[in-house]
């Protein structure tokens, strides 16, 4: 009786696995149904809601949503110069942060993946990841104290005779903090890309008479470009949507798209306008991802 049940269940199991083996599409459906549902319900539905609410407006007196179709929000967005300034500033900072992180990450990744000893490699790997274990807020607050007028940076600069920099609460401060915060997200994909460059190719380049600079430009850089593009997606999009760093370390002219969205949702209670402005980084990221795909960034993921 018991043996029969085991046999029956094992035949049932083998029948299921045989059916799955014969029908790859069924396997795919089973594997993807949960993430697919998540994607459609949470992600796409939220995006659609965002677009739809961008076409509504808020009654100024009662603060209630008026569910009638209007392009008013986009009109304000285009016609008011201040929103253009803010969008361009956000774009500029995101680009500057991305370039900075590339410049910092590439030499680091080459050193870590090619030159460092096994032990040092392990240490560097942990050193890159450890900041991600502490709260983002704590790290930004730490920078606020470092960059403040009576902070460590000015203290050090005065000590060595350069004179105070006073970059606390400026766009420079934002640039430094963003570059610091998102650096691990650039280093990891670039590191992984550098590791994929075969040693033989670099040796061949040397054998053919290329110096290290030429080898880097003609061999390494083109091969790690997808990794750089992948990292830049992180640094660029994360900067584009952030509002905490500008609030904490930014100055009088440091409003970014995220701040306007936050203020409209949390302070002014104008969700439709926030939704309209939120479509701006969405469009920018869409264009950016298309360009990154052309560079082969998704092969490195």
């Amino acid at each position: 009786m018991a043996a029969e049940a085991i046999a029956a269940s094992s035949t049932a199991r083998s029948r299921v696995s045989a059916a799955l083996f014969r029908r790859p599409w069924l396997r795919a459906v089973l594997l993807l149904s949960a993430p697919g549902a998540w994607f459609v319900l949470i992600y796409l539905a939220a995006l659609v809601l965002l677009f739809v609410s961008a076409l509504w407006r808020v009654d100024p007196l009662s603060g209630n949503l008026v569910h009638t179709f209007t392009l008013e929000n986009f009109e304000t967005l285009v016609k008011t110069p201040v929103y253009r300034t803010i969008a361009l500033r956000t774009l500029g900072i995101a680009a500057a942060v991305t370039v900075t992180d590339v410049v910092l990450a590439v030499p680091f990744a080459i050193f870590a993946a090619r030159l460092a000893s096994k032990r040092l490699q392990g240490f560097l790997f942990v050193a890159v990841l450890i900041p991600l274990w502490s709260s983002y807020l704590v790290r930004v607050f730490a920078w606020r104290l470092i960059l403040a007028k009576d902070g460590i940076l000015n203290w050090f600069l005065v000590k060595v005779g350069i004179g105070a920099a006073n970059i606390g609460y400026t766009n420079w401060a934002m640039w430094i903090v963003f570059s610091y915060i998102w650096l691990p997200f650039m280093i990891l994909p670039v590191w992984s890309a550098v590791e994929r460059v075969p040693e033989s190719v670099i040796e061949a380049s040397g054998d053919l008479g290329a110096r290290s600079g030429r080898t880097f430009r003609s061999i390494v850089l083109p091969m790690i470009l997808p990794g750089i593009a992948a990292g830049s997606i992180f640094t660029f999009s994360l900067t584009l949507g952030d509002f905490i760093t500008p609030t904490l370390v930014g100055g009088a002219s440091s409003q970014m798209i995220g701040n306007v969205v936050y203020q409209n949702v949390g302070v002014a209670n104008n969700v439709p306008f926030a939704a309209a402005f939120a479509t701006v980084p969405l469009v920018i990221m869409g264009l950016y991802l298309t360009a990154a795909r052309k560079l082969g960034a998704f092969e490195a993921l």
Binding site: S62, G168, P189, A252, Q255, A268, N269
Partner: protein
């Protein structure tokens, strides 16, 4: 092997980001309760959710309240009146029981149906309030009370006595390049009224009488002044603690402030002083208002009774540096800290009250009955242009 490790880490980072992003949205449901006036205060619900100005729910008077009533206080600090209004409306409005609304938020909350009428008979101390704040127009509409007045005071000019010399006497200091890059003002559209008040004294030709009732021309002049001020500003602060930090670290040496920042900085031994400049000052008169969807109305009534009592009135007045509404608070203030009754104007004549231009919501209809004033949505828009 190495490669797999890096890829794995990348995957983990991505997963954390996705989980973090999806955990951000949560919702709560609420049932609006009927708004009939209660005739007595029942047993406490055990909880009380408050939206308050920073410094309004100090342990000094919250802890004893929790002990004596069993109502546990959960407070959320808001940085501006706009934020208070939004917090009281979010998720159908049932999230918070009470809000310490200033005069520029209270009418918006009443108009929006976000707050409920209260029975002043259940707050015996109300009879001891200064007459101007028993039924002020910012919380009492057609004889219906929508809250219990709390405290009031001016917005002051705060400065570092070591860096700002000679001692300032005028608001002109924050509109001039003299302290360029060391000035801080609140990130709040109502700041336009401060500029308008300054202009009403320095440019009488504009004819500004009430800094909250500005015609297009007057508003433009105020915005012009604020745009000129923009390059001199270090930072527009949004929470009182931001300004405290700016003064502590030497990033700002002069700015518009509340007395709370002053008393906190003095307690931290930062060399600061605050004054009401010669042009006068804007100010606030705050009201504890009950949400129309409050889940803990009994604890709410217990709370307004608690904060209206002379003792708590005195404690809060000294802690924050503002003026109590309860006239019986003066002797207790003297007991707690000698001279504080006079310092915080608890026994000041009515003329002092009248000298402050209290925050109110700008509306299209001016006092003269004509609809030529700019309403608050225009103020908000202009403020974005100033700070953007």
């Amino acid at each position: 092997m190495k490669l797999a490790r890096v890829d794995w880490a990348l995957g983990a980072v991505l997963a954390v980001m996705i989980v973090g992003a999806s955990a951000c949205g949560s919702s709560s449901s609420s049932k609006p309760s009927s708004a009939g006036l209660p005739s007595k205060i029942g047993a406490g619900e055990g909880q009380l959710y408050l939206v308050a100005w920073e410094g309004y729910t100090q342990p000094e008077w919250v802890k004893p309240f929790e002990k004596s009533t069993g109502c546990v206080v959960h407070s959320k600090y808001a940085g501006s009146s706009d934020e208070m209004v939004t917090l009281m409306r979010q998720n159908g409005g049932g999230q918070y029981d009470m809000v310490s609304a200033s005069g520029d938020a209270s009418l918006r909350l009443i108009d929006g149906g976000d707050v409920a009428p209260v029975n002043v008979a259940l707050v015996p101390e109300w009879k001891n309030f200064i007459p101007q704040l028993q039924s002020p127009s910012h919380n009492t509409v057609n004889g219906t009370h929508y809250g219990i007045s709390l405290q009031w005071g001016p917005n002051t000019l705060l400065y570092n006595t070591k860096s700002v010399k000679p001692a300032p006497t005028s608001w002109a200091e924050i509109y001039s390049p003299k302290y360029k890059g060391e000035i801080t003002v609140p990130d709040n559209p109502i700041q336009i009224a401060d500029a308008a008040l300054y202009l009403s004294k320095t440019q009488p030709s504009l004819g500004i009488e009430d800094p909250y009732e500005l015609t297009e021309r007057q508003l433009d002049a105020a915005v012009e002044l604020l745009k000129k001020q923009h390059p001199y500003i270090k930072k527009y602060w949004s929470l009182a603690s931001d300004e405290i930090e700016l003064f502590k670290n030497g990033d700002a040496v002069i700015g518009a402030a509340w007395p709370y920042q002053y008393s906190t900085l003095v307690a931290d031994h930062v060399p600061v002083k605050q004054i009401i400049p010669e042009q006068g000052a804007t100010g606030w008169a705050d009201t504890w208002m009950l949400s129309a969807h409050a889940k803990d109305p009994n604890c709410a009534y217990k709370w307004v009774n608690w904060v209206s009592s002379p003792k708590v009135q005195a404690e809060q007045a000294i802690s924050y540096g503002e003026t109590p509404v309860n006239t019986k608070a003066c002797p207790i203030m003297e007991e707690l800290s000698k001279g504080s009754c006079v310092t915080y104007h608890a026994n000041a004549p009515a003329s002092y009250f009248d000298s402050i231009k209290f925050w109110k919501t700008p509306v299209a209809k001016c006092d003269n009955g004509r609809s030529e004033c700019e309403d608050y949505s225009v103020w908000q828009q202009k403020w974005t242009e100033v700070t953007g």
